[in-house]
Amino acid sequence: MLKLVGVSKVYGSSVALSNVSFEVKKGEFVFIVGPSGAGKSTLLKLIHKEIEPTSGEIFFNGESLKKYDKKIYLLRRKIGMIFQDFKLFKRRNVFENVSFPLESMGYPFSYIREKVDKTLKNVGIYEKRNSFPHTLSGGEGQRVSIARALVMSPLVLLADEPTGNLDWKTSFSLMDLFMEINQMGTTIIMCTHNEEIVRRYNKRIIYLREGKKVYEKFPRVN
């Protein structure tokens, strides 16, 4: 589904990512771990095409991401992204935040309402559908962010430190939600420096340090 071949990213004299290669299969859950500055976020930004690699190439469903140079929005409808700071529209309520991508694509309102309500129920935030982001807790905000990504039925979900600002209890509750989403078939690539989370879930791990892939560990088969 996703393949990185010798991908590097250099900012001036600073190497953010160096010759990273790996492949992610459909329905996989992959943790990208490593300390701050290891290149985790850079890696996700490259897959999301927010930045371009200095060298190497990324393939999505067998096609180079270069194909999306003029139509990045099409790629981002297939590859959803969840951020540490949620990136919610401050002046829209929960329902409007989640429905926004569908509205921009011209879906009829009856379809939008049905799909958004269902997604909000799935992520456990339906009761807050009329609340505004500033009234939500961290965990609730992140659930809205997840709902907004899921409503587009993405093939891949990228999550950049989604539990970074949350307490333990909320973090694990959210992780359980990610696992459920993954079990429904969505490929997930998650960056985290939280080793406790990584240990708790038996998933593939790619470890980065100073921009290099230092090791890779596949899940134990019971």
Partner: protein, 298 residues
């Protein structure tokens, strides 16, 4: 159907943005209204000056004097030759006898003086009405080439003053119109740039969500159009009131040129200010957004 729903939502977004902008929206409408109103008033004075010019032009004739012994056939030939010139509106010939009769009628107190004349001193004359005062010079040059024409007369000083006034007024109006269009462009530009700045976080999120660039761009363009239309309607109303007031004032000051605005020939000023407003706002929005979106949405 999808495109229609997208358009409806783009319009909705534009109105939400206008409402949120509050004070900025008010200031922008105010400045655009002042600009469009000023352009409309300049246009009014332009139409008025045209009417004044036409009024004066209608009274201006060039008299061409002929030699005395020209035959009637030749006079007719010359009349035809002059009337065929593109600079000529119409030509009338007056014989020396007719000229003398006109003089007698015009100045009855000198009737006896005219009767005592042994020989009619007045030359046969062509009175030529030019199509425009701007073509008088060329007209006199062309007609003067006819051998039987021995001289001509027109109110050169008046014509020169009129030409100078028209040219000065045209240049000044054009400069003022450009200044106001410049102010208008500047404020529409400031409004859009500030709107983009206020919404930069939202635009960034939209970009990350895979929203089509047009869904980001079109609400800004609609916003500019709506602000221009509101300003256009307000300035049209103010222009309507002003035209009535200014027309009656001009009729008092210059009673010999009666002005009824609706008699002035020209493009409808209300449509004109709205078209100027719309075209300017669409153009400015388009260029600013193209530049901005190239940066954020390569």
């Amino acid at each position: 159907m999808k495109s229609f729903l997208v358009l409806i939502r783009e319009i909705k977004e534009a109105f939400i943005n206008i409402k949120r902008a509050g004070f900025l929206t008010f200031i922008t409408i105010l400045v655009i209204t002042i600009s469009l109103y000023s352009i409309g008033m300049i246009y009014f004075f332009y139409l008025y000056s045209n009417k004044v010019r036409e009024g004066i032009e209608n009274r201006i004739e060039v008299s061409f004097y002929l030699e005395k012994n020209v035959t009637e056939e030749r006079i007719e030939e010359i009349r035809r030759e002059i009337s065929l010139l593109p600079e000529v509106e119409n030509v009338r010939y007056i014989s020396p006898e007719e000229s003398l009769e006109e003089l007698k009628k015009e100045y009855p107190e000198y009737a006896s003086l005219f009767s005592d004349l042994k020989e009619n001193p007045l030359p046969p004359t062509f009175f030529v009405k030019p199509r425009s005062i701007f073509s008088i010079k060329l007209l006199t040059e062309k007609v003067n080439e006819i051998p039987e024409i021995k001289g001509f007369f027109y109110s050169k000083e008046l014509v020169d003053k009129l030409i100078f006034s028209i040219k000065t007024f045209s240049i000044l109006s054009l400069i003022i119109v450009f200044i106001f269009i410049g102010i208008f462009v500047f404020f529409i530009g400031v409004n859009i740039n500030l709107s983009i700045f206020n919404r930069r976080e939202d635009i960034e999120i939209m970009k990350l969500l895979g929203v089509h660039p047009n869904f980001i761009k079109v609400p800004f363009i609609i916003e500019g159009m709506v602000l221009s239309l509101i300003s256009g309607v307000i300035s049209s109303f103010l222009l309507y009131k002003s035209y009535i007031e200014v027309s009656s004032l001009l009729n008092m000051v210059l009673p010999f040129i009666k002005v009824n605005f609706y008699d002035l020939r020209g493009f409808n000023p209300y449509i004109l200010v709205n078209i100027i407003g719309l075209i300017t706002s669409i153009t400015v929005s388009f260029f600013i957004l193209r530049k901005y979106l190239k940066e954020v949405y390569p």
